[in-house]
């Protein structure tokens, strides 16, 4: 069977599975819709959390990111897993004991304030929508590359499937589809990784292969990668702090950890298990399922970087003629995620350190015009300077997002594996999108309508409102996917900073600091959110021109906007504590509530 038929078949089957599950697990009450009736087994919840958490970015982009960053890739690995330790010990069990439906609901009750609740809803919606836009972009990339349909068609299909199971099944439907999606995505991720690990090192476990010797007898894989990269003018792969300072790596890692623990769609998953102790152990299961992918990713990243260099520069290391480049090179070039400019006019593609194209380094294509070698013409070539003691200037632009998707093709693996990768990427994107859409819709129907603006609606009406809100949220997410604002990719990373600086501190203080009151919480949340948002806009300029160059000299304490959540979080804690000290302590029944959530029974 050819690749396209296989891909259609695999994706079609996976969609049928998701919809089938949705029909079986329809939600019939608000309890089902918001928290799956609190009947989810801790292991099932662990899988669902893993799928909920691992987004298109984890599946598609992360390995490529690590492959290009080397050591510094570790900040994503540690940051996106370390948060589960915080979640298991500092948040999940107590929120489960509290036992209601949404994160803003906890904040509103604990801080005896509708205002606090509405502020929390605003933070939640802001965090979740920036995040969901990134998922839709992921769906678009996979569809346009593998199914050869226009991005729009692919997006509508994805939206349709999410619509069916999120609107029909609510949290209950989403939970069990996420379990299925986890199985699809982990299988799709690890199978090619194992194949490639065997090909290159003879060891099937990617976690061990990365620290093994190469089969061709050229020594340890990582040493080989270090040498190869240095020869091409890059920093060595395993050497720390090539591109980022130590303090910045610390700040980004911490912001990602705390941000992970503060993401509403992740927290709410722990509302669905039957008991407090299930919430604790479930965080462990979730991290176990995540670890399977997260410890494989560094191997995929390193191997794909090595494969890419070997394929492009060839055995002699002098480059490969464009005319004999393999098929995958040209398909990715057609999709615009890869480009070649022949700086030295030798007809060969060469890969080394340095920017191929001027400006931000991305190619601008001259529509569909072709050059003398049939390559896609570009209009913004750079100077073609040679970096360090590299033998030639860099001529190849590779979007990091294609590394995982292109890896099986680069390594020459069979078609069914490539089809599997496509289904896995879509599963990762859809599961996260559904989780996000659900927290958005429940915060609207439950926190804004039922508890604030339309208190006297019946449960049936509330359920209907939840479904409507989910439908509207999907439409908005789809719009963002169709017309991705240029800053989407950057903004997704900032969702963590916003979660770290707004929601995480107030929930933490709600459990661990009895003296914290509503004025402290509200001023803390607003300070954290405003500071982090301002810091990001100041240097990155979302919607407007940045106020200052995004360079280390301008940053506070050398912390980049990606790590700004840490400063925002510190400010949140400080402001909240000072304000709470100078205002009335929380009433007795609230102190009673805190005592109550601290013990399981």
């Amino acid at each position: 069977m050819d690749l396209q038929t296989l891909t259609y078949l695999t994706i079609g089957l996976s969609f049928a599975l998701y919809i089938g599950i949705a029909i079986v697990s329809r939600a019939s009450s608000t309890g089902d819709f918001y928290v799956a009736g609190k009947h989810v087994h801790p292991i099932a919840n662990g899988m669902a959390t893993a799928a909920d958490w691992m987004s298109a970015a984890s599946f598609i982009s992360m390995a490529g990111l690590i492959g290009f960053l080397g050591y510094e890739g570790g900040m994503y690995l540690m940051g996106w897993t370390g948060g589960y330790v915080l979640l298991a010990m500092l948040l999940a069990p107590y929120l489960r004991k509290f036992g209601k439906f949404t994160v803003p609901e906890f904040i509103g009750d604990r801080y005896y304030s509708q205002l606090a609740r509405v502020v929390a809803v605003i933070c939640l919606i802001f965090i979740s929508f920036t995040y969901v836009a990134g998922q839709m972009r992921g769906v678009g990339i996979v569809f346009s590359r593998f199914m050869e349909v226009p991005i729009e068609t692919g997006l509508y299909m994805g939206m349709g499937v999410v619509f069916i199971y999120a609107v029909l099944g609510g949290m209950k439907g989403v939970t069990y589809t996420q379990v299925a999606q986890y199985c699809v995505l982990i299988f799709a991720y690890t199978v090619p990784a194992v194949f490639i690990a065997i090909n290159v090192t003879g060891n099937p476990l990617p976690q061990i292969a990365l620290g093994s010797e190469l089969l061709d007898g050229s020594g340890y894989l990582l040493d080989k990668l270090d040498h190869t990269l240095v020869d091409l003018g890059f920093g060595a792969y395993t050497t720390p702090f090539n591109d980022k300072s130590m303090i910045d790596v610390c700040a980004i890692t911490l912001a990602l950890m705390v941000g992970t623990a503060g993401l509403p769609h992740v927290i709410v998953r722990f509302f669905t298990v039957p008991k407090v102790r299930d919430a604790r152990i479930s965080a462990g299961w979730a991290l176990l399922f995540i670890t399977l992918l997260y410890t494989t990713a560094p191997a995929v990243g390193a191997l794909s970087r090595l494969n890419l260099i070997a394929t492009v520069n060839g055995a002699e290391g002098t480059g490969t003629a464009y005319a004999i480049m393999p098929e995958w090179f040209k398909t990715w070039e057609d999709s615009g995620l890869l480009a070649w400019f022949d700086h030295n006019d030798d007809g060969k593609v060469q890969y080394a350190a340095g920017k191929v194209f001027a400006g931000d380094g991305k190619p601008e294509f001259a529509d569909d015009q072709r050059g003398s070698h049939r390559e896609r013409l570009t209009t913004n070539p750079g100077q073609g300077d040679i970096v360090g003691n590299a033998p030639f200037a860099n001529e190849l632009y590779v979007d990091r997002d294609i590394m995982v998707l292109a890896n099986p093709e680069i390594a020459g693996l069979p078609n069914w594996i490539i089809a599997l990768i496509a289904a896995g990427g879509i599963a990762a994107a859809l599961s996260t999108a559904a989780g996000l859409l659900l927290v958005i819709s429940s915060s609207i129907s439950h926190d804004l309508l039922k508890s604030t603006f339309a208190r006297n609606i019946s449960e049936k009406q509330e359920l209907m409102a939840g479904r409507l809100a989910a439908g509207v949220a999907i439409a908005i997410a789809g719009y963002l996917g169709l017309h991705p604002p240029a800053f989407v990719a950057q903004v997704v990373a900032f969702a963590f900073g916003l979660a770290a600086s707004s929601l995480f501190p107030v929930i933490l203080m709600g459990v661990f600091n009895k003296r914290m009151n509503k004025w402290g919480a509200i001023s803390g949340m607003l300070t954290g959110l405003t500071f982090t948002l301002a810091y990001i806009i100041y240097f990155k300029g979302v919607f407007i021109e940045p106020f200052a160059a995004n360079i280390p000299e301008n940053w506070i304490l050398g912390i980049s906007p990606e790590g700004a959540g840490v400063i925002g979080m510190a400010l949140n804690f400080i402001v909240a504590t000072i304000v709470a000290r100078n205002t009335a302590p929380p009433p007795a029944h609230i102190q009673q509530l805190v005592d109550d959530i601290r013990v399981p029974r």
């Binding site: 690590i66 050591y71 890739g73 570790g74 900040m75 690995l77 540690m78 897993t81 370390g82 589960y84 330790v85 298991a88 010990m89 500092l90 069990p93 976690q207 061990i208 990365l210 620290g211 093994s212 010797e213 340890y220 894989l221 990582l222 040493d223 395993t238 720390p240 130590m246 790596v249 610390c250 890692t253 911490l254 008991k275 407090v276 102790r277 604790r280 152990i281 965080a283 462990g284 991290l287 176990l288 670890t291 997260y294 410890t295 560094p298 005592d595 601290r598 013990v599 399981p600 029974r601």
Partner: protein, 84 residues
């Protein structure tokens, strides 16, 4: 809170502090702040500091959560606040 519950909460805080200390040491300590020191040592083909940053810290996190969950089950029982 009665006496029993206060003691339970203290024990919980102690356990969390210990776990988070390990959490900090493996990630920020071995993986970032002292990475150059640990990179002098090899673990197979891995430099040790690099291994902590990209593999070791994650495995430790995993062990930590399961350890915490099991210890807490024991504490729940000892202080009479278990759910069953």
């Amino acid at each position: 809170m009665n006496k029993q519950q206060t003691a339970y909460w203290r024990a919980n805080i102690r356990l969390i502090s210990g776990c988070l200390l390990v959490w900090f040491i493996v990630s920020f300590g071995c993986g970032i702040l002292l990475v150059d020191f640990f990179n002098q040592f090899q673990l197979g083909g891995y430099k040790l500091g690099f291994w902590f940053a990209q593999q070791g810290s994650i495995f430790t996190f995993l062990v930590l959560i399961f350890f915490y969950a099991l210890r807490m089950n024991a504490l729940d029982r000892r202080y009479g606040v278990s759910e069953d």
